[in-house]
């Protein structure tokens, strides 16, 4: 048994496998399938200060080795989260991070302030990369100035670990990563979904009610790996790799590219037990290659 523990700033993770926001609900939906406490951590749904109904439906389109979604941050708001959902989550013996989003900097701040009060929440993941909301969301994540503004604003009110989740829909991810770090990010997670679109040729209509949506799944893994690698060269904070991870081999690739931990997204829908299989697979890989710990491979791509 290799040492799978890893550290993201002040977060101690028992293993490097987390779940991606929006793909694991609040964890409780998986209680039937697995013991959530066995995971390195979970990132719960995108949370905003005000309740959001999200977008109209259809909200999903399957594409080659991927899917588009246009959920649009449907959630009951930070106060409901704190009062009704949070108490249930305290049963888990693992890191719980809240994915925080907003339409204005003030909304980000108010939301982070509420989460800051919750003892069992180990950190927040600042979502400045959601492609599915009209205002805010991704708009914050595509320019250095706005990243710096929103990140430093939240930093001033949030005391625990703050991860910033980057958008892949940009020209130079390295520059944006630097802006997030200079704004005060303790770590970076990437990638969020690629902006895409699906059309039904027979009806001649867009498949999604919102026309465009976010692409996730194996299709985006090559882009995600490349961006993790670029960001790892650009900054010195821990990175959480996300994008199309379906098995342990995919996860290993992200570690080699420079990620200290990974998040599993779309794969949870297909196999709700996939995270446990990935943890096992990482352990086997390390043993087979005679590595004593996950840190032996983080960023160890042989050039």
């Amino acid at each position: 048994m290799a040492d799978l523990s890893t550290t993201i700033h002040k977060l101690k993770l028992k293993n490097p496998v987390l779940t991606a926001s929006g793909t694991f609900g609040y964890g409780v939906e998986f209680d039937d399938f697995l013991d959530v406490s066995m995971l390195g951590g979970i990132v719960v749904k995108g949370t905003t200060i005000h309740p959001r109904q999200g977008n109209q439906y259809p909200r999903m389109a399957e594409t080659a080795s991927g899917m588009l979604n246009s959920v649009g941050l449907q959630n009951k708001g930070a106060k409901y989260f704190a009062s009704d959902i949070y108490p249930v989550l305290t049963k888990y013996n693992t890191n719980i991070l809240v994915n925080v989003s907003g339409s204005t900097i003030e909304e980000y701040i108010s939301c982070a302030e509420i989460i800051n009060e919750l003892d069992h929440i180990s950190g927040i993941e600042l979502n400045i990369s959601c492609p599915n909301v009209k205002e805010g969301g991704m708009a914050f994540g595509t320019s250095c100035a706005s990243i710096d503004a929103v990140v430093s604003a939240v930093r001033s009110v949030y005391n625990k670990t703050m991860i910033v989740k980057l958008s892949p829909n940009v020209t130079d991810i390295g520059e944006l990563a630097k802006a997030a770090v200079s704004g005060g990010a303790d770590g970076l997670s990437l990638i969020n979904t690629l902006l895409g679109m699906a059309i039904n040729a027979e009806t001649r209509k867009p498949v999604l009610a919102t026309v465009t949506g976010g692409l996730s799944g194996p299709a985006i893994k090559p882009v995600a790996l490349r961006m993790v690698w670029e960001v790892a060269k650009a900054v010195n904070v821990p990175i959480i790799g996300i994008g199309g991870i379906m098995n342990a081999t995919d996860a290993i690739e992200f570690f080699l590219a420079g990620a200290s931990a990974i998040q599993v997204g779309t794969a949870n829908y297909i196999d709700p037990l996939i995270t446990l299989k990935i943890i096992d697979g990482i352990d086997s890989y390390l043993n087979r290659h005679n590595y004593s710990s996950i840190s032996n491979i983080v960023g160890e791509l042989q050039m």
């Binding site: 998986f30 829908y269 297909i270």
Partner: protein
């Protein structure tokens, strides 16, 4: 009603007609109780196209043999692969998912209306209603007689009526042209329906007009099937609800249908 993901073995595959198959899967362990209207999410392997699972209503259950059956209409790649699953193969099955139709405790007169692959959830429903000593009438609508399958099974649980658009079986026309949804509708205390949305809306309208309790089973595009992706929502009087967990069965009073 714990949800599980299991590899179930295909123990029979019955080709009902050109594009409908009935596949029966067996579990090596005992099954959880399954309620009428619930569905399963099946994994499609060996396909270059399909990534996500595909949802199918549970057509029938046998707790003695630990089998579940699915009635599959071929419409794309996923259903094509699943409908053609060879006997002996294993299919990864996530179930039971979703809520269920209300099964009254007292003896009621209930009309069950189905169309297309929507009939899939109505077999186990009719059985449950009949087992709970309700009086069941079953009305099946189709384009043509060749699209109507497994009628004889339905007749075990109630009287069966049909309408076809071409008149090749039963009454010519739509289900809503049938006297059961017309002059005779008053004799039912409940109408349950599953089928194409326009059909369900027409049925719902009749029920509504006559103040009859009406439950419909919705479809939607689903990524997960167990309430995490929030892709499968429908508009309700209480806001957006997930078809996969809050549904697939909804009382029409809770929906925002224009009926």
């Amino acid at each position: 009603m714990r949800k599980t993901v299991r590899n179930l073995k295909v123990i029979s595959n019955l080709r009902l007609n050109d594009n409908h198959h009935l596949i029966q899967l067996q579990s090596s362990e005992p099954l959880e109780t399954i309620f009428p209207g619930q569905f399963a999410n099946l994994l499609v392997e060996n396909s270059a196209i399909v990534l996500l699972r595909r949802p199918f209503s549970i057509y029938s259950v046998d707790y003695k043999e630990n089998t579940v059956s699915f009635f599959i209409k071929i419409i794309g790649e996923g259903t094509r692969v699943l409908a053609n699953s060879p006997v002996g193969n294993f299919i990864s099955t996530m179930f039971p998912l979703g809520n269920s139709f209300t099964i009254p405790n007292e003896r009621e007169k209930i009309l069950v209306v189905g169309g297309g692959s929507g009939v899939a959830s109505l077999m186990i429903l009719s059985q449950a209603l009949c087992d709970n000593s309700n009086e069941v009438s079953i009305l099946i609508g189709a384009r043509s007689s060749t699209d109507i399958v497994s009628l004889d099974q339905f007749s075990r649980y109630g009287e069966v009526f049909t309408t076809t658009e071409d008149g090749s079986s039963g009454l010519k026309g739509y289900v809503t042209d049938h006297p059961l949804l017309g002059a005779q509708i008053g004799r039912f205390s409940r109408i349950y329906t599953c089928g194409p949305e326009p059909m369900m809306k027409a049925v719902a309208q009749r029920a509504n007009l006559n103040s009859i309790v009406c439950e419909v089973s919705l479809e939607n595009t689903m990524a997960c099937g167990f309430g995490v992706c929030l892709c499968c929502i429908t508009d309700t009087t209480q806001g957006h609800k997930c078809v996969c967990t809050d549904g697939p069965v909804f009382n029409i009073n809770d929906l925002k249908w224009q009926i």
